[in-house]
């Protein structure tokens, strides 16, 4: 069973249904057309995987998450979380899900401990992971006795992570989870994700920090302007992406223009740059007889793959 499944999930803001809604729609139609926040999204997140959900600001990431949690009602299509319908069964879904919103807002007049107790009580499940999470994120008992309004941004984010995961949810939906965390705490957070994954939990991870998605996610979906641009294994995406190559040589340069997978060939004074997509074997065969003195192949970065997808989607 998929942990998350959406079929044609669509959300327009400003779209209204019902009698009053239809009347309002007619009145407003001439001045403000509906905003297409999400357009026919089809994704399936497998149980036990860490799924990255990537996209620039305003691409529909938060709208998707809010649809999954029942905060928004879909204009068309449907979503299922842990086998339950997002519209009809949003309360049972939220019983089994942990959610960290982007830029989480907390009750400032409570202490960290009171806040976690309150949210834990609302969850209706024991906070079985709280002690472990607090220890890993270095949230001491003394810190948790302080008022939330005295916390730094990083501390708030740590409390946000604890409240989302303390009841050991089957599915964690994390929107920009490392926002405000220092590198050490980011590493601690990645270790928490590894532990959750080893325990068979599913993690839906929304971010625009591509390097962390590359580090922790099994698969990645990329959305742009409310549409799904790509959905693949992170490893496959990285393997498929073009690598930048620069080589120095003595003597005549090798002919690369007609080699399979090679593009953007540029000749300079004693060097050649190009891009390789897919297998490097044809490229290695092509330069076998050249007097290469130096060769640099830049490692595949998800960021570039993302930008390529972004550019391709833009041009189509």
């Amino acid at each position: 069973m998929n942990a998350i499944e959406t079929v044609g999930l669509t959300k327009y803001y400003g779209h209204r249904s019902g009698l009053v809604g239809s009347l309002l729609k007619r009145v407003r139609a001439s001045t403000s057309p509906p905003i297409r926040a999400l357009e026919s999204l089809d994704i399936a997140v497998r149980e036990g995987e860490v799924f990255g959900f990537l996209g620039p600001n305003g691409s529909g990431k938060s709208t998707t998450i809010r649809l999954l949690l029942g905060f928004l009602h879909p204009t068309a299509g449907r979503g299922r979380v842990l086998g339950l319908d997002t519209t009809r069964d949003s309360v049972p879904i939220r019983r089994r899900v942990g959610y960290l919103p982007s830029g989480i807002a907390l009750y400032d007049t409570l202490t960290g401990e009171q806040l976690l107790d309150y949210l834990g009580e609302l969850s209706g499940r024991p906070a079985s992971r709280r002690a472990e999470l607090c220890e890993r994120l270095e949230l001491s008992a003394h810190t948790l006795k302080r008022l939330v309004r005295d916390y730094s941004r990083g501390m708030r984010q740590k409390v946000g992570i604890v409240q989302a995961l303390q009841h050991d949810p089957e599915l964690a939906i994390l929107d920009e989870p490392t926002e405000g965390l220092d590198p050490l705490m980011q590493r601690a957070f990645y270790e928490i994700l590894d532990t959750l994954k080893a325990a068979g939990r599913t993690i839906f991870f929304s971010s625009h920090v591509l390097s962390e998605v590359e580090r922790v996610c099994d698969r990645v979906a990329i959305v742009r302007e409310g549409r799904l641009v790509a959905l693949e294994e992170t490893a496959g995406l990285l393997a498929r992406r073009k690598r930048n190559i620069m080589m120095r040589f003595t003597g005549p340069p090798p002919r690369l223009e007609d080699v399979s997978g090679i593009t953007n060939v540029e000749h300079g004074d004693g060097y050649v740059t190009c891009r390789v997509e897919g297998s490097v074997r044809p490229f290695l065969a092509a330069i076998a007889d050249a007097a290469v003195v130096d060769l640099t192949i830049e490692p595949a970065r998800l960021e570039e793959a993302f930008l390529e997808f972004y550019d391709e989607a833009k041009s189509t």
Binding site: L69, L72, S90, R94, V97, P101, L119, E121, L122, G124
Partner: protein, 267 residues
């Protein structure tokens, strides 16, 4: 209803509730004392024709009797403003304020339906109002005792006055909460509710000062709390029916609208 939400709201509001209740006790205490000390002088002033009697009988309250002075405590702007801290302020901000701050989605990410959240907040509002009205009555009884006029008070009528007052301010709270679940920001929810409350208060006071405007009074919810009549044994069950109906209507609105609303990301 959800016990965790009720305990949470209580924890956040208890200091404010203590302050408002203390202020209401003091306010309730003062009016019977004023009646005992200056009631006869006020009566003489009115009888002398120096100022119209209507000015001494605003909103069904007066300073010529203990029942009238206690009633004045309920309908006077000071009493209304103090009680409205919870009836209007708390209720209007309960959902819209949390939505604006972004804390609502943290709570609603738990297995809590919007209807349960709404009913819990409504119950909390009614609880706070019940305590405030009890404080006002306690202050009035204390003042009457202090001034030595408590024997003029029929204690058996106090529970009905408490109930009718709770229903009046409960109706305002239900309207405020209905507005709160209908807006994403606090300002329109609070503005709309305050507008309704002020307009209704003006209608009631206008009707009590100007006989030609009496026809407007039934359009004011304040018209359905006749504190002096209750204290003198002339309660009108219709008032309770009207106020209960308004509460029910506001609840139906909120219970229909809130679950169907889209809660987009807080801006």
């Amino acid at each position: 209803m959800n016990g965790a939400i009720l305990r949470h709201v209580w924890r956040l509001q208890r200091t404010k509730l203590a302050i408002v209740s203390t202020a209401l006790i003091i306010w309730g205490f003062l009016l019977p004392v004023i009646y005992a000390r200056f009631g006869s002088q006020f009566t003489a002033l009115v009888e002398s024709g120096l100022f119209p009697e209507q000015f001494a009988r605003v909103g069904g309250g007066d300073v010529f009797s203990l029942a009238g002075s206690i009633a004045l405590g309920f309908i006077h702007p000071i009493g209304i403003i103090l009680t409205s801290v919870f009836a209007v302020g708390f209720s209007a901000s309960a959902v819209a304020g949390e939505r604006q701050r972004g804390t609502l989605e943290v709570a609603l990410a738990r297995p809590i339906s919007r209807r349960v959240l709404y009913l819990s907040l409504l119950a909390a509002s009614f609880g706070f109002i019940a305590i405030c009205i009890a404080a006002l009555l306690a202050g009035s009884v204390s003042g009457a005792t202090f001034a030595g006029v408590v024997k003029e008070l029929a204690f058996r009528n106090l529970p009905l006055l408490w109930l009718n007052s709770v229903l009046l301010f409960g109706a305002l709270a239900a309207i405020a909460l209905a507005a709160s679940v209908s807006f994403d920001r606090l300002t329109p929810a609070l503005g709309l509710t305050l507008g309704i409350v002020i307009a209704m208060y003006v209608l009631e006071v206008l009707g009590s000062l100007w006989p030609a405007a009496e026809v407007l009074q039934p359009y004011s919810l304040f018209h359905y709390l006749k504190a002096k009549a209750i204290l003198t044994g002339f309660a009108a069950p219709f008032d309770v029916v009207v106020l209960s109906s308004v509460i029910l209507l506001a609840m139906v609105w909120a219970l229909v609208v809130f679950p169907r609303r889209d809660l987009a990301a807080p801006s």
